[in-house]
């Protein structure tokens, strides 16, 4: 009976499932422009290349869900892989030890963020902007701005396949998604992350340790960033001075495209962030195979992300509106 309410509900359903709609749209669009896009090989490639952005985006999702932001993930990727690379060069470490060091560095980096944001109460935007600059500076100092190459034992991971079928980066991405999903939906911390993002003050009043929860989000984000960095290096073979630059943009874009709200508290890891990350990759590979002018690439990516953020705001406003329209009967 209620026409506008009906329309709003449909609109809201569409906005909620936007990642899927966008994904299918993009896929078809590039498929028409470049027919070889549909081949299994190119899809596998897209997912494989998306895996490191995806892993970083999963971590980013944790921070965004608490209503914060982490701009320093790119620097974290750089610094932690530089530290790992230097340790390998000096001590001839095994890949496993290098991995542990890389993650350890990422963890330390993330703890710094968490400390500055939750204890010193600096707004996340500024705090992580500062660690972005500082982290890259420190990485360059350590590496003296030289590229550090990784041994074959590690780069093998980048191209190997599990049971000769699925590329390792994809396997690791899948495991990350699973772990993140369990953390968010099956642990108390995860549920509390959503609560904190919805309303920090209410969360405090509900007896949630908001300092700890926010800190956890930054730590998860930093650890996943270094993990993504490691996987990316395993595919590239070396870290140069520009490694990871701009990754924060890709990660935030993937998360938001995947339906994680910049306002906190809304969105899901699966399928949201998975689709988001693959979309980012699809856009760049798609543009290449459709032979679009290289200079237009970044503008088109920016446009898509712009649309995603606009959709996010629109959804938030509509949700607010619909909440006001409770017709009460009694």
């Amino acid at each position: 009976m209620n026409m506008t309410a009906q329309k709003n509900r449909i609109l809201l359903a569409a906005l909620r499932n936007m990642p899927i709609i966008l994904f299918v749209g993009l896929f078809l669009c590039f498929g028409v422009l470049a027919p070889d896009f549909f081949r299994y090989q190119s899809i596998e490639n897209a997912v494989k290349q998306a895996s490191y952005v995806g892993i970083v985006a999963v971590g980013m999702a944790f921070v965004l869900l608490t209503g914060g932001i982490d701009l320093s993930v790119g620097s974290n990727m750089y610094l932690s892989t530089v530290v790992a690379g230097l340790c390998i060069q000096r001590f001839a470490l095994s890949p496993a030890a290098a991995f542990v060091i890389c993650i350890g560095a990422g963890f330390t980096f993330a703890m710094t963020n968490a400390f500055i944001v939750t204890r010193l109460r600096v707004v996340p935007f500024i705090a992580t902007l500062a660690t972005l600059v500082a982290g890259r500076g420190l990485g360059r100092m350590l590496s003296q701005s030289r590229a550090i190459s990784f041994p074959e034992t590690i780069t093998r991971i980048g191209s190997a396949r599990l049971f000769d079928v699925v590329p390792y980066p994809i396997v690791l991405f899948a495991l990350t998604l699973l772990a993140a999903w369990i953390m968010l939906h099956r642990t108390q911390w995860g549920r509390q992350i959503y609560a904190v993002g919805y309303n920090l003050e209410s969360a405090r009043k509900a007896g949630i340790n908001t300092v700890r929860i926010r800190a956890i989000a930054y730590v998860v984000c930093g650890v996943f960033a270094s993990f993504g960095g490691f996987i990316s290096v395993a595919q590239l073979g070396n870290v140069n001075a520009g490694f990871g630059r701009g990754s924060e943009f890709d990660a935030i874009a993937a998360a938001v495209l995947g339906g994680i709200s910049l306002f906190g508290g809304i969105g899901s890891i699966f399928p949201g962030v998975l689709l988001g990350a693959v979309m980012i990759q699809l856009v760049s590979t798609g543009l290449v195979s459709a032979k679009v002018d290289l200079y237009l690439h970044s503008m088109i990516s920016a446009l898509i992300i712009f649309a995603a953020v606009a959709i996010d705001s629109h959804r938030t406003i509509l949700l607010k509106k619909m909440q006001q329209r409770h017709i009460r009967i009694e």
């Binding site: 026409m3 108390q188 609560a195 993002g197 919805y198 309303n199 409770h326 009460r328």
Partner: protein
């Protein structure tokens, strides 16, 4: 003899050098409903915040069931069996009912910390049964009505076997039926051995529900005793320190023939249908309706916050089409929203800034001036605040968030009074406001009307409207179903009109 549920011993608290509580010594016996009354800013919420671990007292101590109670945070209070249902609901709309119930303590499967979903769902279901809320435990809380959300809050308390449940103004946004449901639930809980603290500005309700009464004034305990020792009159005397003979000021304004606001055929499909009425100079026009009847939506459309698809609005001979709030203000309209927290105030800004915001035009030296006259703003804000008896430590520095609930409401009203409105729309102006201040607000309405303004006052308290209005419109299901002149005021007919057309609205999915 069982020990008291709660004991306060000489508890005091200061904020910014302002005493919020001084030397409260009080004991609350178990398995009773304890009603706390007091003016806005008397310290009711602060006392409960101390009990609930949200605020730490400066001095004094507490015991809870004989044990010393010294909560370092809300989590400690929860562990001591205290559940706090806040003045503003404290739920997470983005999460399901189960998640909300257990957000600070899920049942777990093992040491890994994974949640035991089955067990959580089961206990959630049970708690919902107890409070009489029949909907799936996975429903998102944002899809519930305010009343259902309140029941979720109570289920949260029940689900963790709270021994003491604090209800801070739980009834202010409930309809009469919902209130009655809440009251019978409170009685059930009390009979099951819970102690309940009930805070409300509706003194009749407090007297009806409570076993004991506690009266606070200016942070001090004025009196306490069993309910048989109290009447509404005594409560008022204890609360404000003097007798208030009449709850409503005598009507002094007389409506004239001049039309200030003319509304014809205003429609927004699915929300309001074909609304027509005229508001005259010097008239106080009441708009009665149950919550959800479309009255707030109508006010929002008149003020230009929402668009309408058909119809005309003419304010002081100026047609308003697709207007924005700024135009409305320019045409002499003012709108006091019902939802002070989200719409009426900038919570982080100072009191003075909030007051000045709507009145910048008037306080600036001239219309075209770009400079803000701080002194004028300060003088005006002090004057309005004094008129409304707004209690605050420091107008310049204290942020709106730190005001007591009722004082926030007064601030919203103060803000709009400064614009010298010709047409004033008030949405539930006295919700959460103490008796004394209610009287002040009615007086101000009277004076504005006597000065030639037209007032549209939305309320769900029929008594308040019949005492203050010249004419009352009754809305139901998005339409006006009755128009009563002062001589025809009749509660029964008005209520009848308010329920008209509701059965058709009761179709599922219309929430």
């Amino acid at each position: 003899m069982p020990s008291d549920a709660i004991q306060f011993e000489n508890v005091s608290k200061e904020f910014f050098g302002i005493r919020a509580l001084s030397g409260i010594t009080l004991s609350m016996p178990p398995a009773q409903i304890i009603g706390i009354v007091g003016e806005n800013g008397a310290g009711k919420s602060t006392l409960m915040n101390i009990l609930g671990g949200i605020v730490t007292p400066d001095t004094g101590s507490m015991t809870c069931q004989g044990q010393p109670h010294k909560p370092a945070g809300p989590a400690d209070a929860t562990r001591a069996g205290i559940a706090f249902i806040h003045q503003e609901l404290n739920l997470f709309g983005n999460l399901s009912i189960v998640d909300n119930l257990f957000i600070d303590g899920f049942p777990k499967i093992d040491r890994l910390g994974l949640l035991d979903k089955r067990k959580a769902n089961q206990s959630a279901h049970q708690a919902l049964q107890t409070v009489g809320l029949h909907c799936p435990v996975h429903t998102l809380v944002e899809n519930l009505t305010p009343c259902e959300q309140q029941l979720v809050e109570i289920a949260r308390a029940v689900g963790r076997n709270a021994r003491l449940i604090i209800l801070d103004e739980p009834t202010s946004s409930l309809t009469q039926n919902e209130r009655d449901r809440l009251f019978s639930l409170m009685n059930t809980l009390r009979n099951a051995g819970c102690t309940l603290v009930f805070i409300s500005h509706n003194l009749d309700e407090v007297l009806r529900m409570s076993d004991r009464i506690v009266v606070l004034r200016d942070g001090c305990l004025v009196s306490t005793g069993s309910k048989t020792e109290y009447t509404v009159e005594r409560m008022i005397i204890d609360m404000v320190g003097r007798q208030i003979k009449n709850l409503y000021p005598p009507k002094t304004s007389v409506p004239s023939e001049t039309i200030l606001l003319e509304v014809s055929g205003v429609t927004r499909p699915g929300i309001i249908e074909d609304i027509s009425f005229a508001l005259h100079k010097g008239e106080i026009l009441g708009l009665f309706g149950l919550m959800g009847s479309g009255r707030t939506e109508l006010a929002r459309i008149l003020f230009g916050l929402d668009p309408c698809t058909a119809g005309e609005i003419v304010a002081i001979n100026r047609p308003l089409r697709r207007h924005k709030p700024a135009e409305s203000i320019h045409s002499g309209l003012a709108f006091v929203t019902e939802n002070r927290r989200d719409e009426g105030l900038l919570m982080e800004a100072s009191i003075e800034f909030n007051i000045a915001l709507a009145a910048l035009r008037q306080t600036a030296g001239s219309r075209s001036s770009i400079w803000v006259d701080h002194k004028a703003i300060r003088d005006k804000s002090l004057r309005v605040a004094r008129d409304l008896r707004l209690q605050a430590a420091d107008h310049k520095r204290q942020s709106a968030r730190n005001l007591s609930g009722g004082n926030q409401q007064k601030l919203v009203i103060a803000k709009w009074l400064l614009t010298n409105p010709q047409i004033l729309i008030l949405d539930e102006p006295t919700r959460g406001i103490d008796v004394g201040a209610k009287y002040e607000i009615y007086t101000i309405m009277n004076n504005l009307a006597a000065g030639g303004a037209g007032i549209l006052c939305i309320s769900s308290e029929l008594e308040e409207l019949t005492a203050t209005c010249d004419r009352i419109l009754v809305m139901s299901n998005g339409r006006i179903h009755g128009d009563f002149a002062r001589s025809e005021f009749n509660e029964k007919n008005m209520l009848h009109a308010a329920f008209k057309g509701l059965r058709t609205a009761a179709e599922p999915g219309d929430r």
